[in-house]
């Protein structure tokens, strides 16, 4: 199996080089047979990488400890499911997965666009092949997952216990789908630059792929946050850790991109901007992989460290230089077709949205690399921590939420005062009422008040849109449900987008509440003693110990009372994993979480003492569940947006407004 694997990745490397050469040669000389054979080559790469992946999975499941990767990431006591997920627990396996996902995407691109856009596609394929060559090259020559050990150990080192969690099993996978997904719209952008076909084709393909990648990045970020919340045991879900920022930065840039492409589609504007944005997004995605994989910026959960750093830096430099050189070369062909008319228009709302997203991405980037930067400039290593990121990003986020309400309703080109009143009067009133109600409830935190008011405002605008659209259809004689369903299904992009916005609103509400209104308490309790927190009371009923094949666990038994009434039994754990000789990390604190839509009770067994007493830390985090619920809504909206349309011809036809059509309706496409 091992030889099969290493031969497969070597062949995949060679064929990728062929794909690059054949597609460019074929396109330049118009010998389409070469392009065709390059396309077949891309499919062959996919097959080879599937074989390599199967070979590695087979070795992992059968615990072939003669392989370094298997010996480092598994052990005989590891459950079957985690033997499989070890595929992406370590460096080499993750990189193999990167290559596999990219080859799947490449194959889809090839199959979807066979015999279409003949000028553009060979260059798209060439770009994808270049990225493949780099990553497959790394796993073939530098970090091979099929590297053998000089001897066969009897026992592997085992998987880090905090990685043995259902969220950790799928979170990296989701994130990879997103990271790698960014490569495809970038390839279309580069294809357009290289071929000179700078029309609508690349934007149309890119938009769909960017949305796809964005959805996976969003879900990946949320799953990662949930994993950190459940597993790291400090009561939060986001710490502005470099590895988290690594995924957050491409998300910010991708969010800007999926908004600004709409302006190019509808109005033929922002062409240069979009091209730069997709280059930046791809750069941030590779940079993110680099941070996570190289361990250059020390992080609490940097799971891999190795010497592939310089290679990555070289590749990043090449991408940036080459892309921007091509960009400058084609600059004159990226002329805008329309002008900005008024600052009070949907176009400008999008511009401000983009500037702010990019501003946030820049601030996060700067904060993440600050230790390296300051050491290079001043010789001192200086860190900026969570306070920096919060101070910069919270105001930006608040303005962005405001724009999220404004953007969808304000008129194109120039909004009149009448238009503004008609669209925004009720949502603004809703925001004001929210502030009054919250003040009456005794909430005084300014940031929280502004955030909740803006969330109410956005919700108001979205419901206005749904209400108006549905009402028009009801007047035509449809019943409410049918009218609503048709409204959404006839205009998936628009209404799907609104659903995504509602998901974001839920997330913002959850994040605001859980960061502003946390209550925390730590007490050491003897058996029978209780601790009080807000309306809750926890009684410590003693410690219990048990042993399984894998671990020795200590449980604290606690009874929870709310308002004097017994409501639940809670048992946080502290586990010591066995096989100490093989593991570097053998302790794990298992948090007990009691989660409702009102608040989360987050209970940690900090330590226990010989006399049977235990130190318990309790946090009340309000509305955390809203974040995960918002994620589900976001996913739902994204699916609606991407759902293939039955009526192709209609979706493909763009309505592009030019300066001449004066009273263009607000609704488009």
């Amino acid at each position: 199996m091992v030889e099969t694997g290493s031969i497969s990745i070597f062949l995949a490397f060679i064929i990728s080089i062929y794909v690059l050469a054949a597609s460019i040669y074929g396109a330049k000389t118009r010998k389409w047979d070469f392009v065709k054979s390059a396309e077949n080559g891309a499919i062959a790469v996919l097959f080879l990488l599937v074989i390599a992946t199967i070979a590695l999975v087979y070795s992992l499941i059968n615990l072939d400890f003669s392989l370094k990767y298997v010996a480092l990431n598994t052990s005989t006591d590891l459950a079957m499911i985690y033997r499989f997920t070890s595929l992406w627990a370590g460096q080499a396996g993750s990189l193999l997965l990167w290559c596999l996902v990219l080859s799947v995407y490449t194959a889809i691109v090839v199959l979807q666009s066979r015999n279409k856009d003949r000028q553009l596609m060979p260059y798209v394929l060439a770009t994808l092949a270049t990225v493949s060559i780099f990553f497959i090259g790394i796993i073939t020559f530098v970090e091979s997952p099929f590297e053998k050990l000089p001897f066969t150990p009897q026992e592997g080192r085992g998987l880090n216990p905090i990685l043995q969690n259902a969220y950790m099993a799928i979170h990296p996978l989701t994130l990879y789908f997103g990271y790698v997904g960014v490569t495809v719209p970038f390839a279309f952008g580069m294809g357009a630059l290289l071929s000179g076909k700078l029309g609508d084709e690349w934007i149309r393909y890119s938009r769909k792929w960017a949305l796809f990648a964005w959805t996976f990045l969003s879900i990946g970020l949320l799953l990662g946050a949930r994993w950190a919340y459940l597993e790291l045991g400090w009561g939060g879900y986001w710490a502005w850790d470099p590895v988290e920022n690594a995924a957050f930065m491409p998300w910010l840039a991708a969010t800007a991109f999926i908004h600004s492409v709409m302006i190019q589609e509808k109005k033929g504007m922002l062409k240069k901007w979009n091209m730069s944005l997709i280059i930046i997004t791809f750069f941030l995605s590779i940079f993110g992989t680099f941070i996570t994989r190289s361990g250059i910026i020390s992080s609490v959960h940097s799971f891999a460290q190795s010497d592939i750093g310089p290679l990555f830096l070289g590749f990043i430099a090449f991408i940036l230089l080459f892309s921007f050189a091509m960009f400058l070369y084609r600059m004159n062909d990226l002329e805008t077709e329309n002008k900005f008319d008024s600052i009070l228009s949907r176009e400008s709302a999008f511009i401000f949205n983009n500037l702010l997203f990019l501003g946030a991405a820049f601030a996060v980037f700067l904060g993440t690399i600050f230790p390296i930067l300051s050491e290079a400039v001043t010789g001192n290593k200086i860190l900026v921590g969570p306070p920096y990121f919060n101070r910069v990003n919270v105001p930006i986020a608040l303005v962005l939420i405001f724009l999220m309400g404004v953007g969808p309703l304000i008129s194109w080109r120039k909004a009149s005062f009448k238009n503004l009143v008609k669209n925004f009067l009720y949502p603004i009133l809703l925001g004001i009422i929210t502030v009054i109600v919250l003040l009456a409830l005794g909430i005084k935190d300014t940031v929280a008040l502004i955030s909740f008011a803006l969330c109410a405002f956005v919700t108001g605008t979205v419901f206005t849109e749904f209400f108006r659209g549905t009402r028009v259809r009801i007047k035509r004689g449809e019943n409410f449900l049918l009218a609503f369903m048709r409204l959404v299904s006839r205009n998936k992009r628009r209404y799907g987008g609104y659903i995504v916005h509602i998901g974001i609103v839920l997330i913002v509400i959850g994040v605001t509440a859980s960061s502003v209104f946390v209550t925390e308490k730590q007490s050491t309790l003897a058996r029978g003693e209780s601790m009080e927190l807000r309306n809750y009371s926890l009684r410590f009923d003693g410690l219990k110990q048990y042993t399984t094949d894998a671990k020795n666990a200590t449980i604290a038994n606690l009874t929870l009372f709310e308002g004097g009434k017994e409501i639940d039994i809670i048992s946080p754990e502290k586990n010591i994993y066995k096989y100490e000789g093989n593991r570097e990390i053998n302790q794990e604190t298992e948090v007990a979480l009691r989660s409702t839509y009102k608040d989360d009770l987050y209970i940690i067994l900090s330590s226990f003492n010989e006399d049977g007493s235990a130190t318990i830390r309790v946090m009340i985090n309000p509305l955390v569940n809203w974040i995960w619920a918002g994620g589900t809504v976001l996913l739902l909206g994204a699916i609606v947006t991407m759902w293939p349309s039955g009526r192709k011809s209609r979706q493909e036809a763009f309505v592009r407004y030019t300066v001449s059509d004066h009273d263009a309706p607000v609704k488009a496409s």
Partner: protein
């Protein structure tokens, strides 16, 4: 037309300046020096009462846990040692010989009062050292 353009330039400038100001203010007010034990000791009179981050290896046998959940321990760079007092959540991998990162204030009584404690694995994550310990038992 020019008036419209000017409005855009002003609006964009305002956004750019605001973001830059936020970045500047954020860095200025929240930056923390990252020091080694040696650097901390070298800056002794001036470093008191300012917030810094220090990393070092936990000296074996110096971790003392109190029943209220607070701990004291020492970190070292191999030559010098620093006393650390910490109260809060203790990372699972925190133990003798791990590399600890603490953030807080170095008090005048030469005890580092930390409110952030991070721990890193003693060896590189992908190290094969531990596998060699088992070598004798194989075949």
């Amino acid at each position: 037309m020019l008036k419209g353009k000017l409005k855009f330039i002003i609006a964009i400038s305002v956004i750019a300046l605001t973001v830059s100001y936020l970045v500047y203010g954020g860095v200025k007010d929240t930056m923390v020096y990252y020091l080694t034990v040696e650097e901390l000791k070298a800056q002794v009179p001036t470093v008191y009462d300012s917030r810094v981050r220090v990393s070092g290896t936990v000296v074996p046998g110096t971790i003392i846990k109190d029943t209220d959940g607070s701990i004291v321990f020492q970190i070292t760079d191999g030559a010098q040692m620093v006393d650390v007092a910490y109260e809060g959540i203790i990372p699972d991998i925190f133990a003798d010989d791990v590399e600890a990162v603490v953030e807080g204030v170095y008090a005048k009584n030469n005890v580092f009062e930390a409110d952030i404690l991070l721990a890193k694995c003693p060896t590189k994550y992908e190290s094969t050292d531990s596998l060699y310990e088992n070598k004798e038992t194989s075949y």
